[in-house]
Amino acid sequence: MLKKIFDKYFHYWMVFPAILLLAFVVIYPTFNLFYTSLFFKNGQLGVTRFVGLQNYKKLFFDTNFWQYLGHTFIYVGSAVTISLILGLIISNILNKAIKGRSALRTIMLLPWMIPLVLTGITWRWILQDIYGAFNALLMQLGIINQSIAWLTDGTTAMIGVITADFWANTPFVTIILLAGMQSIPNQLYEAADVDGATGWQKFYNITLPLIKPSIFVALVMRTLFAIRALDIVYALTGGGPGESTEVLASYIYNLGRRWLRMGYGSTIGVILLLITIALVFSFMFILKPGSARE
């Protein structure tokens, strides 16, 4: 009897435990986020008071928010663009008849697999002004004759953060694009050869349109990773110098965990979630990833 019931609702039994856990770790916290954003909740003062949309109103006059939003767009925009361009070039090379592709892929993947906080720390050490590797290299090559304090200038610090980010995340883009390229049938290229197409023409007219779905996936995943990333900023600059590398992710961390301004921190969290969704939808709208599939 029991066995029969088990067999009849088998598909639900299989899904049930996973969905239960997901409800606990995804659905509940997400609802809680929206709910908390409607409160003035301060852990230091021990106050929790319903304020409706007051926190959202406050956003408009919060100059920090707008400044960090700007930094976030600069960071995400540059890191994602550079990763995509580099990823396209490298995957296109690896897609050719190259010896030791497997070994190259292993080497290439390493930066992606180490913890991002270690990436941030390592680049902080590379860019360190006196004993760091970057200044040492530049000096030994005769490019500069005095060490430069890269991380005490707002602009170079941001460039450092972006570099660490695309160093770590370009491998992911490359792997996704390479998989897309390898699924293109060879006959297409052979036909193009018969017509006397150049390498660039083949790349532009065959490869690029056919890997559009992969480009879409790489773009979306890459943007999601960059917009949420706290690790690199936290470890490399701590938001500094001044506030020149503070992004929305670090703002949420400071508000929610360091200053215990939990209500307002949740409001910024909601905004970050909405920005993420808006970006994914606009990529879908612009790239129409389904259109390259048969």
């Binding site: 598909h11 899904v15 435990p17 390493l110 180490i114 706290l230 470890a235 992710a249």
Partner: protein
């Protein structure tokens, strides 16, 4: 498997410029890792010598001994291993049956539930730090490994379900049919017929889930306070908080934190790449 074919694909040979570009990129990729390793094996005072030694003069393992003896890196390492292994096990055990059900059965709520799994991968963990902190505080789980194991399933469980479903989708249903005609129960079909064929998929998703958990930073930073639960990546920040950063010993800690990445990358690259592309591309 199509991702690993080694045939000539776009027909062209590689130009000199492309070789140079690839070479420069490989140098750029490897240099920071080389810098971690040489710093980790240098004497702490040798790190502060100019000009910089690109090859350590008297390589030493003292930094590794130091982080284990004088700093709580043994606890950090144990916490990292326990949290990552447990979360991986939990998510593979719960996620694989769910993925099978999503792949094979067309039941009420199938689409909605699977779609919500997809959407949950879009939620930035950083946005949820306040809810998770409050939740774990209410449960009295702040600064425990249990909090980490539960929290890591936020990203691991959707990932495992997603990847495993595309592995199951690739296995012909004829296999299930044949077993059913032979009188196997639904559970037996799953356990004895389909599951053994998807072992590479399970290996791939388990390895990636392990790496994601091992590298996790945001949740762990928020939910842990002491060596009772702090993991290696969080432990590295101890050094940054010091007035004077002890780079040699910090990089020894960093090398420890990078170990799984290096092991998985060198020996199981095929699984990692397979799982990654499956996790990303299929719809």
């Amino acid at each position: 498997m199509k991702f690993f074919k080694n045939k000539l694909n776009s027909g062209d040979n590689i130009s000199l410029w492309q070789y140079l570009f690839l070479g420069a990129y490989i140098l750029f990729s490897l240099f920071p890792i080389y810098w971690i390793i040489i710093t980790a094996f240098k004497n702490p005072s040798a790190v502060l010598e100019l000009p910089v030694n690109w090859i350590p003069k008297n390589p030493t393992i003292d930094n590794f001994i130091y982080v284990f003896r004088e700093r709580p890196y043994l606890s950090y390492t144990i916490n990292s291993v326990v949290a990552a292994l447990s979360s991986t096990l939990l998510c593979v055990v719960l996620g694989t049956p769910a993925a099978y059900s999503f792949s094979r059965y067309d039941f009420k709520g199938n689409k909605v539930m699977f779609f919500s799994v997809l959407v949950s991968r879009m939620i930035p963990p950083i946005a949820l730090i306040v809810p998770f902190y409050s939740m774990m505080q209410n449960l009295g789980l702040i600064d425990t490994k249990i909090a980490l194991i539960i929290t890591y399933s936020f990203f691991n469980l959707p990932f495992v379900i997603w990847v495993m479903k595309s592995y199951f989708d690739e296995i012909p249903t004829g296999l299930d049919e044949a077993a059913r005609i032979d009188g196997a129960s639904k559970w037996q079909i799953f356990k004895d017929v389909v599951l053994p064929v998807t072992l590479p998929g399970i290996a791939a998703s388990a390895m990636l889930a392990f790496i994601f958990s091992w590298n996790e930073f945001v949740f762990t930073l928020v939910l842990t306070l002491t060596p009772a639960a702090k993991t290696l990546p969080i432990g590295l920040m101890d050094f940054i908080a010091d007035d004077f950063i002890d780079w040699a010993r910090l990089m020894a800690g960093g090398a420890l934190a990078a170990t799984p990445a290096i092991i998985f990358g060198l020996f199981f690259q095929k699984y990692i790449v397979g799982g990654l592309t499956k996790g990303a591309i299929k719809e």
